[in-house]
């Protein structure tokens, strides 16, 4: 359990928080790391968004040549890779970092330095991937990197090396974080916080870590094999050498489908926190919500081949994967109905986070239903690799994940930064985003069914795709603009500093019981939990309101020391992969030796550094 609680007044005064670049580089505070994740991921999100806008401008009219086919292929590959690995996953990681310890009543995560290491590896991996643009060699084989197009023969440039190596770096970050949060949830909960009393966001995040731990090793293996093929001339995926292109597809989707739930389960968790608070009612069917989440995660490992119906796996395999996929609709339906049950009979407070939560439900229903339409293998033989699929997964990942993460940002902003975001601008952001989103992605359903394939850099006039594509581009511009409103809101609110109280929304969970923003040690004394919605029930027991908590001295509270070794170790990881990429150059062995030295030296010092002082 966490360190002992000793809040003797007058021992040393309020612990001064260090700021400045060095403090951020050496921080092991889960809240600071959370903010680093959020800021980095948001910048990557904007880069991915700009890539999407260029894609939309290129497709605005037929036979367009705004960008070359080569650059277009880089754009859609990097858009997908960026949004999945550099935006949505780390935006979720921002909430894991900042809020899992607060929601379970802990002082930090289980392994604070490993946490810093995860972040720096993620950042370096993201920078490495994007650095490929500087060499005019951004990955160009799709985020799914299908063999044998990804082989050295058909992709001779550095492009797919950047991809295969960049994703391995990011995989290290995800796995380290996965271990960390898995252990944190199991070991760091406050007294009385039984598993079945945990807030739903913690539950869904916990399941997500399990998915990360089980699925990332698969993609890591696949990427290592691909790297061997490309760098050292092996033939795992090269048919001429006896390799198999189907093997890549199976390995990729055994990871790729659980990955979809890695992207959406945290979003489910955030929604399950927002809806009860703004309905002023507890979550409907808590137990069913937990088990449906587990069931979705379990089934998520048994449906990967529904991405491969068009490969012709045979009637038995197609039937099994069709039916298993349909089954997922049942626990997902349970979730949607329980969310509706949560709002039913409530006193709905239409604040900005609630707009996004309700918008999420409305959009996610559509993404779920088009998912069921894909699950019927023969119909998928028409829909797969068309814009219908593009529409489907954007309704899930944008209408779902991004709506939820944005709602989460509005909901938890006051807690993270100690001031409120503007409600009027927040609602403007919501409506622009909802309208822009639907204008962009709804027509894709139609244009896909009318025969427009994905990943084409242009289309000829005469197939009827013009008008819908034009509407989609207008929608994308509105969608992009909505995030400018968000950025303006952040700047305006940061300047005006409308101070946030500890509990601005009348919340239900422990983070609202401490000042905004939380002090470095989170809780002056570790709370004892007596049931679900602990803070909500405590307020009700005290006539609905508790006094504003005071900021107190943290003297005597042991916190982990800052350390620069995680940063240096992460740098060592990056250098090692860069050296590997250049292994064939004259100085290759020297690079590798230097990188390994940095890595080992950092880990050695990390291990023998005292963790607390």
């Amino acid at each position: 359990m966490a360190t002992s609680v000793l809040d003797h007044a007058g021992a040393a005064g309020i612990h001064p928080e260090k700021t400045g670049l060095w403090a951020w580089i050496t921080t092991v505070d889960h809240k600071k790391i959370g903010i680093l994740y959020g800021a980095s991921a948001f910048i990557f999100f904007l880069i991915g968004g700009l890539e999407a806008l260029v894609i939309r401008l290129q497709l605005m009219k037929p036979d367009n040549n705004l960008v070359s086919p080569e650059f277009y292929n880089q754009l859609f590959t990097m858009h997908g890779t960026t949004m999945i690995f550099l935006a949505v996953m780390p935006l979720s990681a921002m909430f894991f970092n900042f809020f899992i310890p607060l929601l379970i009543g802990a002082r930090d995560v289980a392994f604070p330095r490993l946490n810093a290491f995860s972040y720096w590896v993620f950042l370096f991996g993201g920078l490495f991937l994007n650095a490929s643009f500087l060499f005019n060699a951004a990955p160009n084989g799709g985020w799914f990197g299908y063999a044998n197009l990804s082989s050295k023969q058909f992709s001779p440039g550095l492009n797919m090396d950047f991809w295969a190596i960049g994703l391995q770096i990011l995989g290290i970050a995800s796995l380290a974080a996965g271990v960390n949060f898995f252990v944190t949830v199991l070991n760091m909960r406050a007294p009385g916080m039984k598993l079945i009393r945990m807030p739903m966001f913690v539950w869904m995040s916990f399941i997500t870590q399990l998915l990360v731990l089980l699925s990332f090793p698969v993609i890591t293996v696949a990427l290592i094999l691909l790297m061997f093929d490309r760098l050292f001339g092996t033939h795992f995926f090269v048919p001429l050498g006896g390799g198999d292109t189907m093997l890549w597809q199976h390995l990729f989707w055994v990871f790729g489908h659980p990955e979809v739930y890695i992207l959406i389960l945290p979003a489910f968790g955030i929604i399950s926190e927002i809806l009860p608070v703004f309905s002023r009612k507890p979550l409907f069917g808590y137990t069913a919500m937990v088990f449906s989440g587990c069931f979705i995660a379990f089934l998520g490992f048994g449906v990967w081949s529904h991405h491969m119906f068009s490969t012709g796996m045979g009637p038995i395999a197609d039937s099994v994967f069709s039916l298993a996929t349909m089954l997922i609709a049942i626990p997902t339906g349970v979730k949607i109905f329980n969310w509706l049950g949560t709002t039913w009979g409530g006193s709905i407070q239409m604040k900005t986070p609630m707009y996004f939560a309700l918008g999420f439900i409305a959009m996610f229903i559509m993404g779920g239903l088009s998912g069921v339409m894909h699950s019927t293998a023969p119909a998928d033989l028409q829909q797969t690799d068309t814009y219908f699929v593009v529409a489907h997964f954007h309704y899930v990942l944008f209408g779902g994940s991004i709506f939820s993460l944005t709602g989460g940002a509005y909901y938890w902003w006051p807690k993270m930064f100690g001031h409120m975001l503007d409600e009027g601008l927040g609602k403007l952001h919501f409506w622009l985003m909802l309208i822009g989103f639907n204008l962009t992605f709804f027509p894709m359903h139609i244009v896909g069914l009318e025969g427009m394939p994905r990943r084409v850099y242009t289309y000829p006039a005469g197939l009827g795709f013009e008008s819908l594509n034009r509407i989609e581009t207008y929608g994308a511009l509105i969608l992009g603009f909505s995030f400018l409103v968000f950025i303006f809101n952040v700047i305006k609110s940061t300047r005006s500093k409308v101070h946030a109280p500890a509990d601005p929304w009348n919340g239900a969970t422990l983070e609202w019981s401490i000042p905004s923003p939380p002090q470095e040690f989170n809780f002056p004394s570790i709370p004892t939990v007596h049931g679900r919605d602990a803070f909500w029930e405590e307020k009700r027991a005290h006539g609905g309101k508790l006094p504003e908590p005071a900021r107190v001295s943290g003297a005597g509270i042991h916190l982990p020391n800052p350390s620069y070794w995680p940063f240096l170790a992460a740098l060592g990881v990056l250098l090692l992969f860069i050296a590997l990429m250049n292994h064939a150059s004259k100085l290759g062995p020297v690079y590798i030796f230097a990188a390994v030295s940095v890595l080992f030296f950092s880990i050695f010092n990390w291990v023998f550094e005292p963790a607390e002082g």
């Binding site: 086919p69 080569e70 292929n73 799709g142 044998n148 197009l149 048919p239 309905s279 002023r280 009612k281 409907f284 069917g285 137990t287 069913a288 068009s310 490969t311 012709g312 197609d318 069709s322 039916l323 349909m326 049942i330 339906g333 509706l340 009979g345 409530g346 006193s347 709905i348 407070q349 239409m350 439900i361 229903i365 239903l369 069921v372 339409m373 699950s375 019927t376 293998a377 023969p378 119909a379 028409q382 690799d385 909802l434 309208i435 639907n438 204008l439 027509p443 244009v447 069914l449 009318e450 025969g451 994905r454 990943r455 084409v456 242009t458 000829p460 197939l463 795709f465 013009e466 819908l468």
Partner: protein, 372 residues
């Protein structure tokens, strides 16, 4: 803003969204969609469409009910900050059992026809009456072979209406996906295993299709046409294609596919071809036939549908194809000349190099190819 005004705010936003979506659907109706999956003209596509419509029906029903419930909740249970605390409900087992069971029943309505259709998709028709076609994917064009008829062609597949066509498919290089939306559906194409697809065109017409698996630089320009013809017309087409073995069409030399051998082969073939072409047409086509040899076109392209050779698409019948450069560029004289002169501009990255052909030479080549 007072409370009522705020509510109007939301209603206005929602109505705006609804209007825009109606505009979207409305504008979608205005366009013709020759590559649509929604207007099936082949038995395979019809079978898939029937299943799609079943799923669409249930999805729409669920959509309307659940979104309706959501809108109802938002309107009905909207509270004010000072409203009393609502009743604290934690769940209701009976309700939860019901809303687990109902989706399961709906899914069963979809699952049964799905499994039935899956098995049908794999029942590739057999028998002497079935027209066998071998499909070979290339970066970035399609090769079609009729083993029963001894013909090879590219990017334009002629089939007879009312006769089942069975496709057996492989690729020369990377993965592709053969997709013919109005007649069948799509099936991926692999280098190390063959896959199958089948269809029977129900009515004559030109049906566009396209590669649907990302296959590199020019994936966006890897289209093809299926021309479904009345059986008599199809027989006429087969006859013409089988007759392309005539003296004008192809060099007498054996297949040449090494670049080094090109000039020699061309020179050998020159006299025969020149002679034959002179008999057949005017000066322009004579020049064209010579250029076809001398510029090395012949190194990759055969003009004889019965004698496939070279690494490029077979050009027998090129003069009558609807499109060039793999099914997307209209086959006009101007486009064909541009394609011959500047292949790397028209479709960057294709194997066909810019050969430094002049405008006049291109005109002659066009005139020559129009005869084939």
């Amino acid at each position: 803003m007072d409370h009522r005004l705020k509510r109007w705010h939301s209603v206005a936003g929602a109505l705006l969204l609804l209007t825009l979506l109606i505009v979207v659907v409305g504008s979608a109706q205005a366009d013709p969609y020759p590559q649509s999956t929604l207007h099936p003209k082949g038995d395979f596509a019809l079978m898939v469409d029937k299943l799609f419509r079943t799923t669409l029906f249930w999805a729409t029903l669920v959509f309307v009910l659940v979104e309706g419930a959501l809108v109802f909740v938002i309107i009905k249970f909207r509270g004010k900050p000072d409203d009393p605390e609502p009743k604290q409900v934690h769940g209701n087992t009976m309700v939860e059992v019901i809303w687990t069971a109902i989706p399961a029943l709906v899914l069963a309505m979809i699952a049964v026809p799905t499994v039935r259709t899956i098995f049908r998709t794999y029942e590739t028709p057999k028998g002497a009456d079935v027209l066998q076609v071998e499909v070979v994917g290339h970066q970035w064009w399609w090769e079609f072979r009729y083993p029963q008829l001894g013909l090879t062609t590219a990017n334009e597949l002629h089939v007879p209406v009312g006769r089942t066509v069975a496709l057996k498919m492989v690729t020369q290089d990377v993965l592709h996906s053969f997709w013919i939306p109005q007649l069948a559906a799509k099936r991926d194409v692999f280098p190390n295993r063959s896959t199958t697809l089948w269809f029977k065109a129900e009515e004559p017409g030109d049906y566009p299709g396209q590669c649907a698996e990302f296959c590199g630089l020019q994936h966006g320009r890897m289209a093809f046409q299926v021309i479904a013809q009345a059986p008599g017309d199809f027989d006429g087409y087969v006859g013409r294609m089988q007759a392309t073995g005539g003296p004008a069409a192809a060099p007498a030399t054996p297949p040449v596919d090494s670049a080094a051998a090109k000039p020699a082969a061309a020179a050998n073939a020159l006299n025969t071809a020149t002679l034959a072409a002179t008999v057949q047409a005017g000066a322009d086509t004579v020049a064209g036939s010579q250029l076809f040899m001398m510029k090395g076109c012949v190194g990759c392209h055969s003009l004889n549908a019965t004698k496939p050779m070279g690494i490029g698409p077979n050009l027998a019948g090129i003069g009558h194809r609807l499109y060039i450069a793999a099914g997307w560029l209209e086959n006009t004289d101007a486009n064909l000349a541009k394609w011959i002169q500047h292949p790397q501009t028209v479709k960057h990255g294709v194997l066909m190099p810019d050969l430094g052909i002049t405008e006049a030479e291109a005109q002659s080549l066009v005139a020559y190819l129009r005869q084939h």
